[in-house]
């Protein structure tokens, strides 16, 4: 069996042989993995595939294997969120997206590695050790959905689910040379996804090509009454896959090409924009003056929400419990032992930002900035159809290179987090290489205009071959 297959190819293979054989193939590849992409491989995957075969399941993903980020609840598998504090916790319910996947016939391969509670851009803060970038095993895969991106890039799953709070799908997609979509806020139910920052995050698909992203979106998107922020947009994602960008108006926000941007990244993104021009699109520079405050606003909001979301991990009901002479001592010890450095840092900073005396100065101000950033997007996207920019200012860095310097690490989210503040959709597609490392082009659209985003991404893919390149390190 070919190591890298699109969903269509996987389905062909299932036709020819069986879901069981296809799943066995992926389990075999995973067994030889050099990247530590999975926290837990499902022991029931084969059984599930057999059942699909026996039932002659006719769902859109019948027998197609998928990898799931470890913060998405799946019955029968642990859900650790890359943290020690959830040791032994297995959710008794499926996330909405998992229900949808199972109904469509998908086979869950396992749970992928991630930064602890999705707090990071390198997958190095995971309690289960870092995941390696398939393009260079000494480098990070990006994060926080590093495992989900790396396993797709390494052929250990045809596609996967991640979650994107400030770039957590797009960053690893760019670093690992795969496609990753952050849908519009509300497009996919968050029910069953362990919250890091509720007002910012969305589940997002990762795949080797744009079509597979659309295939996955058609299965998992839509209204769910259990998530009050979910919206029924009735979008038909695969229908958007039309190879045509004639007359498309592209905005290029200069604020996304900041000082620290790697020259090769800048060049690759401009090449892509010129490619669109060749295909009949036009581009213009747009200005988004408040983008420079987005990063600070993003971190304050995300940390504030996180400080509250992570309060439930107190050793009382599930997960890790350390002994203490009374309840408070038990909670303190459990949290001291269970959370890693980055989670603690964000809980403390978030607690601080919400505290009396600082609440207005930090949290409320961050909310005001958020409104201004949203307005920047509204304004820019009223003049053009899409915005294009580098996903990440730099290619993947070395494992250990930035982990001791959180501020520099936070800065790497500079181009991705404004999108979460605004709640708009954004995709990262491969658009070049520098020193053998992939570069991602970010395409940003209006709220619920995933069709325009997917159409542009698909057209680019049909006219370039970056997405067909494979990391030789793991070949």
């Amino acid at each position: 069996m070919a190591k890298w297959m699109s969903v269509a190819q996987v389905k062909e293979k299932i036709e020819e042989s069986s879901a069981e054989e296809v799943t066995a193939h992926y389990l075999e590849v995973i067994k030889k993995s050099k990247i530590n992409g999975y926290i837990k491989v499902s022991e029931k995957a084969l059984e599930q595939a057999k059942k699909i075969d026996a039932e002659e399941h006719d769902g859109p993903l019948a027998g197609v294997p998928i990898a799931i980020k470890d913060n998405i609840s799946v019955v029968g598998l642990p859900s650790s969120c890359g943290s020690k504090i959830l040791e032994g916790y297995a959710p008794p319910f499926n996330a909405h997206v998992i229900e949808k996947l199972l109904a469509a016939g998908a086979v869950i391969l396992g749970k992928t590695n991630m930064d602890e509670f999705a707090m990071g851009s390198s997958t190095e803060t995971s309690y289960f050790g870092p995941t390696a970038n398939p393009w260079d095993l000494e480098r990070v895969p990006g994060g926080s959905s590093g495992g989900s991106a790396a396993v797709v890039a390494a052929g250990e799953a045809p596609f996967s689910l991640g979650s994107d709070t400030g770039g957590s799908v797009r960053c690893p997609a760019a670093f690992c040379g795969v496609v990753g979509l952050k849908p519009t806020y509300g497009a996919i139910s968050r029910y069953g996804v362990v919250a890091y920052a509720n007002s910012l995050e969305q589940v997002g698909p990762l795949a080797n090509n744009v079509r597979d992203i659309a295939v996955l979106m058609d299965v998992i998107a839509g209204y769910d009454r259990r998530d009050s922020t979910s919206i029924d947009s009735k979008t038909e994602y695969q229908k958007a896959l039309v190879e045509d960008v004639k007359g498309l108006k592209i905005g290029v926000p200069k604020e996304f090409f900041g000082e620290g941007t790697h020259p090769d990244v800048e060049k690759a993104v401009w090449n892509a924009i010129h490619k669109y021009e060749d295909l009949g699109a036009t581009w213009e520079e747009v200005s988004m003056p408040h983008i420079k405050y987005a990063l600070a606003s993003y971190y304050i909001i995300a940390m504030s929400e996180a400080s509250s979301n992570l309060a439930r991990f107190d050793g009382t009901r599930y997960g890790l419990r350390e002994n203490g002479e009374n309840w408070h001592a038990m909670v303190s010890k459990t949290r001291a032992e269970g959370f890693g450095t980055e989670a603690k840092r964000r809980i403390l900073l978030g607690t601080y930002a919400l505290s009396a005396g600082y609440h207005d100065k930090y949290y409320l101000k961050a909310l005001k900035v958020r409104t201004l950033v949203k307005q920047d997007f509204d304004k820019a996207l009223s003049k053009v159809d899409l915005l294009m920019a580098p996903t990440m200012p730099n290619p993947a860095f070395k494992i250990g290179e930035k982990i001791e310097d959180p501020l520099t690490l936070y800065l790497s989210d500079v181009n991705t987090c404004p999108i979460n503040l605004a709640g708009v959709p954004s995709i990262s597609v491969p658009c070049g290489f520098t020193d053998g490392l992939p570069i991602g082009l970010q395409i940003i659209g209006k709220p619920f205009d995933e069709p325009a985003v997917l159409r542009a991404a698909y057209t680019f893919e049909q006219n370039t071959d970056y997405h067909t390149k494979r990391p030789l390190e793991v070949a």
């Binding site: 968050r190 922020t229 929400e305 509250s308 439930r312 107190d314 599930y318 919400l354 009396a356």
Partner: protein, 495 residues
Amino acid sequence: MVYENPDGVRIGLEIHIQLNKLKTKMFCGCSTDYHNAAPNTHTCPVCLGLPGTLPVLNKKAVEAAIKVGLALEGEIAEETQFHRKNYFYPDLPKGFQITQYDFPIVSNGKVVIEGEDGEHAVGITRAHMEEDPGKLVHIGSIGKSKGVLIDYNRSGMPLIETVTEPDMRSPKEARRFLDKFRNILEYLDVFDGNLEGAMRVDANVSVHWGTRVEIKNISSHKGVERALLYEIMRQKNVIRRGGKVSQETRHYDEGRGVTLSMRTKEEAEDYRYFREPDLMPMQVTDWIPAIKETLPELPDAKRSRFIEQYGITDMHAKSLTSKIMLADFYEDVCAEGVDPKIAATWTADVFLGELNYRDLAISSYDGKKISFIHAKDPKIKNSFKVSDMVELVNLFAEGKISDRAAVEVIRTMLDTTEEKTPSHIIEEKGLFKAEDDLVTKAIAETIAENEAAVQDYLGGTEKSLNFLVGQVMKKTKGTADAKTTRELIIKELKG
């Protein structure tokens, strides 16, 4: 007459009520009917706060809150939203409580009570929606507890917290406020006050218009009155000794009847409120007209109507409308064509008085019978039928039984769970007026004719009583009921 409030007492209340008449919890589909259930059987991933769960607002709870707001003559917010109140406690599964903060659903209401000097308005600052935490169950007594168990059945129960202005000037006014408030809520059919934990009260009190002290978590109306009486005395003593009342939170020890310091102002918690990102702000203005339509007649309006329609006194009207179930019972009795004034006397004075004397609280009314349970021992319960009251009132109105006999019938009916109609009891006990008069006459004669036996009995010779009873039986040719006769003689002789 104007109440002078000599100690400058100001009392404000914060009242948590459970919307326990709703079918499901505040943010999940779990049933609210957990009061007799095994621990942790009315829970789901949402109310257990498992990672990844999200709250879904129960619209019925919002409707109930609007109903309460309208009944309290408050303003309903055009836009309302939820916040998170962050603190750690084992009964709080998410580490925060979903509540309302600066956009409560209700503000600026009022409740008129019978104050120290007539009608007195107590301002309602605000009322907001929130979820209840779980419940801690100590193994053994709190002091020497070997451990704590947590029951999350209560977790996520819909609550309304109502905050009053410090408008009450005495513990009695606070108690009256609570009685009236509870009565209004029961009229709205959103709340059953008899269920455990249905209403919890925090009170703040100051004397001489000074520093206010908060007393937390008092579970009964009587408890509130007692706690406030104690706390006012304590504060007055502090001042008399030249001290200063410090701003603090105190706990009421119901058993000892005292308040004890819990924490001072410096130790006040910072709850780091912020908007609950998983719930969208709501606009409810459009809901109001339809909800207004469903508002029932409230206690004050019903009281006025009773005076008008049934020609009864204000005292009777007030008493009958103090409980929606009693008011409905009375109206159904009247609907059977009985004399409403007589029915009012027998329902409001005798029936209600006998219930109170027995510590029985009205718990339900199904249109046929009114049920009640013992305030402390829920195993003791009974009911009283509309048809029985109608029969009793008619028998009395027709002159067939005396006052005394009617009271006797009501007492008997409350003390037995056997199915017996009033005539049945009257027959059994020989309480019909003719026989009744005969017995009364026979007793009087017997006492007059048997001076020696009477003196012996009063001197302690029990046997003489048997002799007297025998004499009465002889005089009435055996028609008198021996037990009743015995009681009547004792009453006659010993008062």
